[in-house]
């Protein structure tokens, strides 16, 4: 019976994984902020996003009119909700590169699986957060 059980567990686990992977990639890497004021996309210095390697990201932020956001303050946190732990590093936005692009240094992921990056954007009186989901 043990084999039967494993067989079905594997099918269920495989299907769940596939669906989760599809749903993440189907989102086309564009993320809307909580209040709807910002649209965020990211690119990683190393693609696909690696594990166990410190690297940089560039965040691209636009407002709903498609204009690049320039004078925003960004705070990045993140972690693996399924494991109840944060990132192994404290990434920081170190430079505004122009055209709504912000350089993030110190990105690192140390486990394969589902990660959430939380980006807090403050621009003037607006303060909204964006949840970027990714599977590594």
């Amino acid at each position: 019976m043990l084999n039967f059980k494993h067989f079905f567990i594997q099918i269920i686990a495989g299907t769940t994984f596939l669906l989760a992977a599809l749903s993440v990639s189907a989102a086309e890497d564009v993320w809307q902020s909580s209040g709807g004021s910002f649209v965020v996309s990211y690119s990683s210095e190393i693609m696909p996003v690696p594990i166990n390697q410190i690297h940089q990201w560039v965040l691209h932020i636009e407002n709903t009119a498609g204009q690049p956001v320039e004078n925003a303050e960004l705070v990045i946190t993140g972690g693996m909700p399924e494991h109840d732990h944060g990132m192994p590093t404290s990434p920081v936005v170190t430079e505004y590169l122009g055209d709504g692009n912000f350089l993030v240094e110190g990105m690192r992921f140390h486990m394969m699986g589902y990660w959430e990056i939380i980006l807090e954007i403050t621009q003037g009186s607006l303060n909204e957060s964006v949840l970027i989901a990714l599977r590594i």
Binding site: L2, N3, F4, H6, F7, I9, Q10, A13, G14, F17, I51, N52, I54, H83, D84, H85, G86, M87, P88, T89, S90, P91, V92, E105, G106, R108, H110, M111, M112, G113
Partner: protein, 432 residues
């Protein structure tokens, strides 16, 4: 036909049906068992490849150490590594605890040199890939790590002044040193450079160190840090060798699945499958070295009568202020390249009781296990993770696995396939 004959026929049909069902079910179990043992999906193959030694990237440059990749430095470092003059009593070398024949460990729960240390001796093989050294990662380079035991009263027990003078006084060392780093300072003036001095527990040596001028201390620190750098250049040569597991993965990747079954047994393959799926080992023991080099609390208990070990949470400040860190004056890296140190995690709560994930290569040869050597066998280690009891301090990241005894045995069988001598062991595995 009599009633009895009909009865008999009904019975035989029933029996035939039952037999048929048993055969089909048996075939299914055989098929699914075989499939489970040897057939890998594309996704699983990618995971196997990620663990394969052939997937180990070239050594990342150590920008903090200008001689990291110098063969001359590695040769000099090898001599120092085995030289017992680098100790307070003339009897301890790095190799006293990091014994090459034991894969650079010592087989003890806690290391014992001049005295007993706080923790278990980890292996050195492959640590050149880790941004952090020690169980709690309190050092950010191999060379900086190599300095600390030299002055620890329970390890080599000496002081940096003594070691710097030894480098300068020994003709062979002096020549090799100067070829790498230029002229070594003249330490013969005992007024400027006392016989023994260093920022250590020994109060006389500490007082002598405090009495030295900053400039003279700097000369000593320079030579001391260079001793660490040549030891690190040697340690960078210690690379893991190819295991049966690696041969198996290579055979799978080459599409030679039939050959692969001769390399690993069914039990070992089932253990491997559990390792990358239900047993969740892969969450921390990932990549070709089977470690993410990060810090995790896995609910390990201290020995009776000992306080729980705070692990990573206790060393954040020490790392940031260590004069031998990446930011410091003895590092060869440009400060803006010190990404690991600059962006390291500093929220202490999550790091309470967290220790660095060790590599699993040669795990069956490096008992006992865990940061204090608390667990004596792999069987008990697997039982520990299977139960995943609440942590005494902090939060145990592991969760109960609910694996059966035979599954745990299969994982253990797989772990035993990760044995291999390190690369170039004849050249680097003994005193030159």
């Amino acid at each position: 036909m009599t009633q009895k004959a009909i009865q008999f026929n009904r019975n035989s049909i029933g029996l035939l049906g039952l037999a048929f069902f048993v055969v089909i079910a048996g075939l299914f179990f055989w098929w699914s068992g075989e499939k489970q043992a040897s057939s890998w999906s594309a996704e699983e193959r990618a995971i196997l490849e990620s663990l394969w030694l052939g997937n180990l990237p070239p050594l990342p440059p150590d920008q903090t150490n200008g001689v990291a990749d110098s063969q001359a430095a590695a040769k000099l470092g090898q001599k120092i590594f085995f030289d017992t003059r680098f100790s307070a009593n003339g009897q301890i070398s790095c190799a006293s605890c990091h014994q090459p024949q034991q894969h650079f460990t010592d087989g003890l729960p806690k290391a014992f040199a001049i005295g007993q240390t706080r923790r278990h001796t980890p292996s050195i093989v492959g640590t050149a890939y880790s941004p952090w050294l020690y169980w709690d990662g309190r050092k950010d380079s191999q060379w900086s790590q190599a300095l600390a035991p030299l002055e620890d009263p329970n390890e080599h027990g000496g002081n940096r002044m003594h070691y710097a003078r030894l480098m300068s006084a020994d003709a062979e060392y002096r020549e090799a040193y100067e070829a790498l780093f230029g002229e070594i300072p003249d330490f013969s003036d005992l007024n400027r450079f006392p016989a023994d001095a260093g920022p250590v527990e020994n109060s006389a040596w500490n007082a002598a160190w405090q009495a030295m001028t900053e400039e003279n201390r700097h000369f000593v620190n320079q030579v001391f840090s260079n001793i660490g750098k040549v030891i690190a250049a040697y340690e960078r040569q210690l690379m893991p060798g190819e295991t049966r597991f690696d041969q198996y993965v290579e055979s799978i990747l080459n599409g030679a699945e039939e050959n692969s079954e001769a390399i690993l047994s069914d039990d070992e393959i089932r253990g491997l499958r559990l390792f990358i799926t239900e047993a969740r080992c892969l969450e921390c023991h990932n990549g070709p070295l089977f470690t993410n080099n990060e810090f995790h609390n896995t609910g390990l208990l201290p020995f009776p009568g000992e306080l729980p070990d705070q692990g990573r949470s206790r060393v954040i400040e020490q790392l940031q202020t260590d004069p031998f860190n990446c930011f410091g004056p003895y590092s060869d890296a440009m400060v803006e390249r010190c990404f690991e140190l600059r962006y390291m995690r500093t929220d202490r709560i999550e790091l309470i009781g967290a220790m660095r994930t060790p590599s699993l290569r040669n795990v069956s040869n490096t008992a006992p296990y865990m940061h204090k050597g608390q667990i004596t066998s792999l069987t008990e280690v697997l039982e520990h993770y299977n139960q995943a009891a609440l942590a005494l301090i902090g939060h145990n990241e592991a969760e109960p696995l609910g694996l059966s005894r035979s599954q745990l045995q299969q994982i253990e069988a797989f772990l035993n396939t990760l044995d291999a001598a390190f690369v170039d062991s004849e050249e680097w595995g003994q005193s030159p």
